[in-house]
Subunit: 245 residues, 2 copies
């Protein structure tokens, strides 16, 4: 292997776009960096991959150290490796996204982070490194995944209402959906269990609670079933309210 030594001078990290859903809004978990580079800047949680660690394991570790969660949906999206993206040397990063039930855990700021905080996707304007670009890629991927596989449920509590589910899809796809058509479509897939329970603590007619039937989904999958939501017209672009200028 003489001659190859020059190649063994790089490092790689994983960065994790952790999505959550709260108050009708799609959120991403960001950390305020506690060390160089970009100390004090908001960034995606991530870290170097250890020499004896698989990539997926590293992504799981980063997630666990920050949130304490282990059993979550996690998927590799894309690798970013522009030559000068990291001030310490050649560092490429493998981007993952994960979907967590936002109320299920307590943030556990890892040593690398001064603090961690949920941000509304739409309000994230810039981040350390090339993390904004990574976030955008993962958001695009999420849009596709959510139309293609029933993973939306990973973002909701185990019991949810159809309206909550619809709001989730609307937030992710950035469209408005027709209530009646959405319900028809979702229910026709026969992946939800009607729990015969009602929402509590709301000051109006409570909605029925449903649960995702994972077993049935696995069964469908093995029979060649394909979850598919049609792409629809874009929600008209929100006009930025004309700010002072």
């Amino acid at each position: 292997m003489t001659g190859f030594n020059n190649f063994f001078k790089s490092a790689f990290t994983v960065d994790n776009v952790i999505f959550g859903f709260d108050e009708g809004d799609l959120k991403v978990l960001l950390i305020k960096r506690g060390e160089d580079p970009y100390e004090g800047k908001w960034a995606l949680p991530g870290y170097f991959v250890y020499p004896n660690e698989d990539l997926d394991s590293a992504a799981v570790r980063v997630l666990k150290e920050l949130t304490g969660l282990t059993d979550v949906y996690l998927e590799q999206v894309k690798t970013f490796g522009t030559v000068n993206r990291h001030p310490f040397g050649r560092v490429i990063t493998i981007a993952y996204f994960s979907l967590v039930k936002i109320n299920r855990y307590k943030l556990q700021p890892a040593s690398i982070a001064l603090k961690a905080k949920w941000h509304s996707i739409s309000e994230v304007k810039q981040l350390a490194f090339d993390h904004k670009e990574i976030l955008d890629s993962c958001f695009e991927r999420l849009k596709w995944v959510v139309r293609t596989r029933p993973v939306g449920f990973e973002l909701l509590p185990p019991k949810f209402t159809l309206t909550e589910l619809q709001h989730l899809y609307e937030a992710i796809l950035e469209t408005d959906l027709d209530k009646r058509n959405f319900r028809k479509k979702i229910l026709s897939m026969d992946l939800l269990v009607d729990l015969d329970e009602l929402q509590e603590g709301v000051a109006h007619r409570p909605a029925k609670l449903y649960q995702f039937d994972r077993e049935k989904y696995e069964k469908f999958l093995s029979e060649g079933f394909s979850f598919e939501l049609k792409e629809s017209k874009k929600k008209e672009v929100k006009k930025e309210p004309a700010t002072n200028s």
Copy 2:
């Protein structure tokens, strides 16, 4: 950056799944490795990424050195980084796939390759490293891409018949398609130019030649058009002829 030095001992490569289409069959370009490790084994063309080289550039370089082609469709798919996947040390690889017009070039076996050869996808059983897994991932991705964006044309000569196009889709999607329905669907997208030319040299009624209208496609895209072929039932699984056993 004290303490991080231990991370800067890795390397990364790009591996390229180069698809072509010939004789009604989807092909992949493999090389017989001319050096360690796995010398003499069939593998995906790939190489280390140079310290001052972007990932995409490396993929382009690998493709060019092998085929002489530069202006081809190329897309990053996934990164593979199992700890012990490479005998020389920690080496992760970023997998790309590309689509080439198989008759448009002469193979130029690079220094790393004893020889390069097109293999029918279905006949590739095992490869060096984890390359078979990489190939499978890229093939899956191609199936999705081809239903989602009109990139199939990248695999055909500039002028092609509708039957050729259909055979291409059938090879990639591993399904049979209905002739009339396929034509209706494709033509209704209004992305093909009827060249008013006929196929030559065939011993039967010659078919009309068409050309992909890239400009029109760009225009449609900017207007929010979405190319979409519906997923269809799987072609019934070919039963392996019972071999001697």
